[in-house]
């Protein structure tokens, strides 16, 4: 036992040298190591998919075809979307869960540490496979991240099959990862931490994990059907055999809509942790926050066809999906109301995490409102497949999910590393991101309302001005993210020492551990007040 105790305090026993270093990261079963791996990988993939966005915006800088051909342009939009969703936002939120959930519930580690290692290490293989399609004959997948049949079945390039298998691998990783998180939350809580006492971030991840377990297998089913339709003679998505291409959209969006909540619920969780800290007040309507999250998760299974208003589904279906979609605004509104009420009469300070959280609340709400506009079936006939949709989901994903991830990184970085990030660089990162994000995506609303279709490399002259502005914003946004990475690396070595509490108003078990925390977070269950 003594040996084990020593081990617990001093981190992993590892062989010296580069081999030992590689072995440590390859074989690790530690939740913090794995959390770091997730976060570092998603940061890397953020720049890969970001570079693709730069190619897209460079091509759209002025009308006409300048830099890339339309075929390659389509590959860029497809891979940009796929990697941002599956390779950046999702792994980053899982990285947060790995780091924070055991510390927040008073556990030593994740419930199934070896499985945890597997969940992460599948991903680098899956994304190598996915990006390798760029170098294959016929190019990478070019049918958009939604890979609608028959674009992906009958007309997909040969690399589609490699894409299908990479999606299978990502799905496996997500299922195992979320299974681990759900088991950790249900089984490894400190005995005195009752369910309703759990931090909101843990709650949002519990529900996210449930959503992942429910819908990732559906996605696996969709790509499996695609594979058999392409090569084994089945006719799921082929009307000539009695199937239906629309079936693909139904299955895809039955996965796809809960998927957008998988991307945003952990973000809600992060913001719900950060706003009370910098307001120096407890979260307003804590239990309502939990119920609202559950409500959103339930509704997410009943709204998928709002992506299909123009496909010729029946009128009764349009009305049903329109009203249920609008209903989602109620629990979401509760959340926004509670964040704002938390700040009301609080003694606010505006450190970088709080700034990003504030931007999140305002800009995510804008994205929510454009979502409501899109939910109105008759109006959607106009908006469908235009830049208005692109503007909408970038407001909820960039200024929503991504800003919340920045919030979380700045908020917990001192806890993770034991050093403060550089506040001045953090503020530069925030203000430049905020401005350039809006310069990039706000004009896209106008472009969409004026009728500019999405996923095209060239456009009519009337759209030139707004596209030029959007591209300019995008380049600034891209460069700004280098400040973020520099800050993280620089502060890792040069930042001031962080205290245990880090923030004046911090609350929760993770702040009762030293910064950085010991290798196995809690060796004995802590008492929760």
């Amino acid at each position: 036992m003594t040996e084990a105790v020593v081990h617990a305090h001093h981190g992993p026993d590892r062989r010296p040298g580069i081999i030992g270093w590689i072995a440590r990261w390859l074989f690790t079963t530690n939740h913090k190591d794995i959390g770091t791996l997730y976060l570092v990988m998603s940061c890397f993939m953020f720049f890969v998919a970001g570079a693709m966005a730069m190619v897209i915006r460079a091509e759209l800088w002025i009308p006409g075809l300048q830099i890339v051909n339309p075929h390659f342009f389509n590959q860029m939009t497809t891979l940009h979307g796929l990697i941002m969703v599956f390779g950046v936002i999702m792994p980053a939120t899982v990285g947060f869960a790995n780091w924070m959930v055991p510390m927040m519930i008073g556990a030593p580690d994740m419930a199934l540490p070896r499985l945890n290692n597997l969940s992460f290490w599948i991903l680098p293989f899956a994304f190598t496979l996915l990006t390798s399609t760029l170098f294959m004959k016929g190019g990478a997948p070019d049918f958009g991240w939604t890979f609608y049949a028959p674009l992906s079945s009958t007309y997909g390039p040969p690399s589609t099959d490699f894409f299908i298998f990479s999606v299978h691998m990502m799905g496996m990783s997500s299922i195992l990862g979320s299974l681990n998180i759900i088991v950790t939350i249900l089984n490894l809580r400190a005995p005195s931490m009752k369910m309703m006492k759990m931090p909101i971030f843990v709650w949002t991840w519990l529900i996210t994990a449930f959503l992942l377990l429910a819908v990732m297998p559906i996605l696996a089913g969709a790509v499996t059907m695609l594979l058999t339709d392409r090569h084994f003679g089945t006719s799921f998505f082929n009307a000539a055999g009695g199937g239906d291409p629309l079936l693909f959209q139904h299955i895809f969006w039955f996965f796809g809509h809960p998927e957008v909540y998988i991307l945003i619920l952990p973000a809600f969780g992060i913001v719900s942790e950060v706003v009370p800290t910098f307001s120096r007040k407890p979260l307003f309507g804590r239990n309502m926050m939990i119920y609202a999250t559950i409500c959103i998760a339930v509704l997410s299974f009943l709204v998928w066809a709002h992506h299909m208003f123009t496909t010729g589904i029946t009128l009764s279906a349009e009305l049903f999906f329109m009203y249920v979609t609008m209903l989602v605004a109620v629990p979401t509104g509760v959340k926004v109301f509670n964040w704002v009420s938390t700040m009301y009469k609080g003694s606010l300070t505006f450190e970088t995490p709080m700034l990003f959280a504030l931007a999140f609340i305002v800009l995510f709400t804008i994205g929510g409102f454009s979502g409501l506009m899109l939910a109105i079936a008759p109006a959607d006939f106009q908006y469908q497949d235009t830049y208005f949709v692109v503007a909408h989901f970038h407001y909820v994903l960039v200024s929503g999910s991504l800003f919340a991830l920045f919030t979380g990184v700045y908020y917990w970085y001192p806890k993770w590393t034991g050093r403060m990030y550089n506040e001045a660089l953090g503020k530069w990162h925030f203000w430049l991101s905020l401005i350039s994000m809006n310069v990039t995506f706000f004009p896209m609303h106008f472009l969409g309302l004026a009728g500019m279709p999405r996923r095209i490399p060239d456009y009519a002259l009337q759209f030139a001005d707004f596209n030029w502005i959007a591209s300019l914003g995008a380049f600034v946004f891209g460069i700004t993210q280098l400040i973020f990475v520099f800050n993280l690396i620089y502060s890792r070595y040069k930042g001031k020492q962080a205290t245990m509490e880090v923030w004046e108003g911090s609350h929760g078990l993770e702040w009762t551990l030293p910064s950085p925390p010991p290798y196995h977070s809690f060796e004995t269950p802590p008492e929760v007040k």
Binding site: L112, A239, T524
Partner: protein, 294 residues
């Protein structure tokens, strides 16, 4: 062994997961290359498969030994239980995608293509695109008969499928018998009931293979028969795959029963497999009702 002072169990670093990743990447790239007719495909796939088997044996051996040495406590076992439960939940969701496809095509697509859905669009689809198509299930003659060849005889519920239902339900009983025998420490009964369960699993697979052989050779029913063949083979095929995996797990558990690995306080491995087997059982009942019978 590695654990923390408070009695929590945390396993030490492991090389099995990364081996699983290597197996996976070889399996997937191997399969994709194989489909594309590249020579490397089958070799890569087979290599991946071997690595997979080796990894599974090693990983499970590690965990089984930890269990036998009482390395981990009740809490870890509870984690395994939760984990297995949620894994089966995700499997249910996987099958629901295929059941959903079946219900959707039967309730909407086939009537729509036949012009009977009750909307103008449905009528036009039929008149303009497939005027000779009749939207009735089972779809013997798909709309595009030149591509999807149709079939001569659909599956009947009252032949092999009925026998297979009896076989699987009986195996559900015998595995419950085994569970009871373990709790009561009746070693001989455990082994007998497990052997019967394995035999029933193998019998099911043999009967289903025979059914598939008949479908392909006598009924003109193949994967390429249109939507009926598509849904029939994909649903029963994935179920059959699960029965195969389940039978392999049952064989391993039977060997472990013979070695006396389980008693009334240590039977998670057994229970996990029995849950899985019951899940496969329930899926079969749904298949019997919705694919064979109705």
């Amino acid at each position: 062994m590695s654990s923390t002072a408070g009695g929590y169990y945390v396993p030490k670093p492991s090389h099995w997961p990364i081996m699983a990743c290597i197996a996976l990447i070889c399996l997937t790239t191997g399969a994709a290359n194989w489909i594309h007719g590249n020579t490397i495909g089958p070799y890569l796939f087979s290599f991946g498969f071997l690595v997979l088997i080796f990894m599974k044996l090693g990983w499970f051996r590690t965990v089984i030994n930890e269990g036998l040495n009482d390395t981990f406590n009740h809490q870890v076992e509870l984690s395994f239980r939760w984990g297995m439960g949620w894994f089966i939940f995700s499997e249910v969701c996987f099958f629901s995608a295929f059941f959903g496809a079946l219900f959707y095509t039967r309730a909407i697509v086939v009537p729509w293509l036949g012009g009977d859905y009750g909307t103008a669009a449905s009528l036009h689809t039929n008149l303009v695109l497939w005027p000779n198509f009749h939207g009735v299930w089972p779809v013997m003659n798909p709309p595009g008969k030149s591509v999807f060849h149709g079939l001569t005889e659909a599956m009947s519920a009252w032949g092999i499928a009925t026998i297979n239902t009896a076989v699987l339900l009986t195996s559900g009983l015998t595995i419950t018998w085994a569970h009871w025998a373990i709790v009561k420490s009746r070693r001989k009964q455990v082994v007998i009931s497990m052997l019967i369960t394995v035999a029933l699993g193998i019998a099911f697979l043999a009967l289903q293979s025979h059914e598939y052989w008949r479908a392909y050779n006598l009924q003109g029913l193949t994967l390429g028969s249109g939507i009926y063949g598509t849904t029939f083979f994909m649903l029963t095929g994935f179920h059959g795959l699960h029965v195969t995996i389940g039978t392999i797990m049952l064989i391993i558990i039977t060997i472990r029963c013979m070695k006396g690995h389980f008693d009334k306080d240590h039977l998670f491995g057994f229970e996990a497999v029995s849950w899985y087997w019951h899940f496969v059982d329930v899926v079969w009942l749904l298949l019997f009702i919705f694919v064979y019978w109705m």
